[in-house]
Symmetry: D2
Subunit: 344 residues, 4 copies
């Protein structure tokens, strides 16, 4: 499998490089950048010295489309919307890690993103790459919209309950917490160490762009799904997402029943672990492609609490992208992704 990465200087890009190193079918990983072409990637990332010798190459859509088996678009917003049309004319499978192609309804996209939507002929083709649930479509897709980091944790956490009709869809509340790498490589006041350290912040209350992505998928699964409450928080750590989700059950239940529902739902999906021991922590999936799910039911309130944790750069970005590329190329979903969590 020959692989190209567009936007390799971002965190998604270097995480792809790290993980592809473990992939037995990858013969080449080339890196492309519209802004830093000709520089070795090690001038941005000294940790790659001697382990990755790639030079950033200027974008060449024709080469990308035809000389590679997979093109990962790990570039800023707008790049995928611009490039995808041309890339689709070639032979490469395309996995886009940006938010450009995830929303099917252009007006919804524009309302939440505040910018023009990608061409509908492209978004229509793009399969939403939540592999555990859309794996069959992904395996036939030419282009995949890789899910956002929050939606990955949230949708994997909600799916069995939502599809099972066991919860009141109007009651869904999602309180999510992320490490700072979700905000990307560019320094900002929000992610300045001096102020982010020893502090916890809430942000974009009721206005985060991942909201319509979550709602779109929930509606696909359950026709009663509507608006959800989704609140993101920043936690002083680099990696990790924890999503704590609340929903009222449609009938009396128990934690054990829910655990059985979830275990059945994720049977055969190695990257989702329904937790058996203890309360989960983000460090327990650090550096790995796992999504751990914990469930509890409170009879006093008839409410289900679902907790899911992922590494936002792996299962929430590069890992899931490779999982999708595997399916698109006929490999095992887990190929190259069998790394253990690095703990502690």
């Amino acid at each position: 499998m020959r692989v190209a990465i567009v936007g390799a200087t971002g965190y998604g890009g270097i995480e792809l490089i790290r993980l592809l190193r473990q992939h037995r079918h990858v013969t080449e990983v080339s890196v492309f950048s519209s802004t830093q072409a000709e520089a070795p990637l090690t001038s941005t990332y000294p940790h790659l010295q001697e382990v990755y010798k790639g030079i950033l190459q200027p974008l060449d859509t024709k080469r990308l489309a035809n000389e590679y088996d997979v093109v990962f678009l790990s570039a800023p917003p707008g790049v995928a919307a611009n490039l995808a049309g041309d890339l689709l004319e070639g032979s490469a499978a395309i996995v886009d890690l940006s938010g450009d192609l995830r929303i099917k309804d252009a007006s919804v996209y524009e309302a939440w993103y505040g910018q023009e939507a990608a061409d509908a002929t492209i978004t229509r083709q793009a399969v939403y790459g939540l592999s555990e649930w859309n794996g069959e479509k992904v395996s036939k897709a030419k282009i995949v919209a890789n899910p956002g980091c929050y939606p990955t944790a949230i949708l994997l956490g909600l799916a069995p309950a939502v599809k099972n009709n066991g919860i009141d869809m109007k009651s869904v509340i999602i309180d999510a917490k992320t490490g700072t790498t979700g905000a990307g490589k560019n320094p900002s006041a929000t992610t300045h160490f001096s102020e982010m350290n020893e502090s916890m912040k809430i942000y974009k209350v009721n206005e985060h762009k991942h909201t319509p992505e979550i709602e779109q998928q929930l509606s696909d699964w359950n026709e009663e799904a509507g608006a959800v409450t989704f609140t993101p928080h920043l936690v002083p750590m680099s990696r990790g997402i924890m999503a704590t989700m609340y929903a009222t059950c449609t009938s009396d239940s128990s934690a054990q029943e829910w655990i059985e529902v979830y275990k059945a739902a994720y049977e055969g999906h190695p990257f989702v672990r329904v937790r058996e021991n203890g309360f989960p922590a983000t460090k327990e999936v650090y550096g790995s492609n796992y999504c751990d799910i914990f469930l509890d039911y409170d009879a006093r309130t008839n409410r289900l609490t679902i907790v899911s944790v992922i590494d936002n750069l792996v299962k929430g970005a590069a890992g899931q992208a490779i999982q999708n590329a595997n399916l698109m190329n006929g490999f095992e979903a887990a190929e190259g992704l069998e790394l253990f969590p690095i703990y502690p």
Copy 2:
């Protein structure tokens, strides 16, 4: 004001010492310990060298009850339940920072705490010291049960909405996050740096002892109050609590309306700041007695989101205890507590 601290070697104890240093009416701060008597406090806490010269004294209930104006009980569970009876026979005002005396209903206490409740004659006398709302009772009290750290942030955040009948009491969900000092000074696996650092944990889902404390106060305020969902999380920081609270409104509303309701409610209460600029962060109240409250309303879901942040050791413990002691002794509530947040 002569002050005694029982249990001065804990984090609540040394925070009392730090804050009382600023108090213009305090003439003496003595420290007591049942386990480490005769040692200078500096052998436990070298940061006090030259600034606090007190020697830990053995417990002597009679002296405590009669030679001091205020006795702060900052000791492990059970100590207050044992000592309070004798202390009440003396002249000192008593402020207990433990959970021993907060719950009025012994059976509720025993169900959540798993141990015997304090004598009812004592818990009946103990005024729940949420100063902003119970200030008048506190000022006449002989003994005050200082609120828990979580309940302080949560109840200050919910009070105006709950008393205003503007929210459906059955819909209240509280997702709270704390720094590790809430877990106290004793080392444990949970708060071991190597595993807590760069990690976020959820714990005691639907079983945290602060739940009945929250529910008891909500019921006092609103007869429709019942069970709430309260979920605590540990965040890799030493100080700070952020409580994110969700409730469905009883009618259409707006963020601005709610802000006005809250501003009116906290008029004249200097330590509660209804936020005007930006989303709150725990660091913005670090080391101070402030509780910052942020409000948002989502018309799509008709849901109110309330966020409150405090320093768990100050407003959530020692600061609020001093605020209560001030009221009990006829001083301004803010005396000794006017420190700015230390930022960044």
Copy 3:
């Protein structure tokens, strides 16, 4: 004492505001900014809501020079060099927190700073404000160059040994570690949370601008002083400096002898604590004006190890600046600076 702060939006500026709140002789604190005039300081720093209502005023040298008792220059490099001449014509005492006025020899300044030195008539007047050692000169000064954060910790740590002729001046090696606030408020790749967190960095090896400042003061104290080795490191914490210093002793010695020398040297200086219990940690001086010094002597190598810790924003910047302003205005050195360390 009427106080003006130029450059109040930086970390040094808001730390001055925090500390001046405790100062009994300060009647006014006004804030000035060349770039953000007319904005309330709370739009930059929401943590000041309701506690500091100052509006940033445009720079007006004449007003600054004449309407205030003290002007703190807490502005970027170059501002003090430009303003100081005009300010010196007024009546205000001036304390500059930048590096503009610390180096007496213009050629040395230009070699290390890579830019033009301030006018020699100004640098000549500027007294180096290491209060514990230059207090008398400071008390008579019209303008003070407040020491850099690293030099404060290092020079307080070295002074008694250097003045005592007890160490070989050629053997001095300084290995210093700082939190990130030393790098200021502007976000950068180096202080981006995602990369600074869970990492330790070394930087500017043999080329840090504080080197000549340290050497200049050592030469004043001991004519055998020459070049020293000074290595700065960045540690994943917001506040705090630890300087570990090594020197070969001129004769056999013992830790206890050195401790006596240091205790004698700092007798009567409340902010320097020669440590009695345990190894020091930066948190033990957090938020305070203390400099803690620990000493050990190794007979095997005949080497003295000196460790000093400060809060870089307090003793290393705003606290020491207030200490200097106190001396210039005839107040007790400690006025407004008696805050305990905030621990933990």
Copy 4:
């Protein structure tokens, strides 16, 4: 290769398990514990759910000695000293990660460790496993004493200069900084999150047990080597060691010359990277077996500064142990260790 790990519940143990997962020649990894036998390792470490199903087995020296190709002793002090004699009678290669077998001179061991030394017949056989320098001896060894975490970083950093006779051996000063995992899994006051976070600590000044280990190896390399100054510090991060080392050069030199010396020395050793870009940071080797070395020379003081960084649990423990086991079993040194640093 059949592998047994004694003491698998410690950090060294689970890091061995993580890394051995990548090893193409490992067919079995069994875990042993004297204290927790019969429990699945997942009850201690939930992050291993579904990825490692091993059950802790009671110690059985005979089985260990004969049924495995390699036995890693990752147990507390004293265990290796007790077990090694019996294990040596079997066929397994033994790699001990504790400090029991590193010091050849029993009196030196006893002076620094304060306990009885292991039997001399064992320590005599134990090869000091600094693979890059002792690789040939290691490949013929039956038992290897795996170097301590600090000595690994320090000795790799010093070796070329020491062997080259380019530095004054009496001038060597080592200022080292570690993350907290070096202190192991047991919670303690020192590594309590609330106090370790946002703080930097110095400890065991002139008395750390790794001192004689460093000196012993330096003496093997250079007969002028004697006592060195070695100062350890704790930094608020979980993983990583940075050692900053200072030495006076025996003649005028330049950074570039030293870089050439080091590059030549480590030619063919894939895990030591002489840095080409930028100052090093511990995160740049996180989770990997690399040791990055940076060099600078200061003509003003004629001093060489050497900085080396490692991940203390990988190159400083489990990674190096596997590297040694590879050599002992005739595999490539790098087998199973080719993981990239995880960044950021």
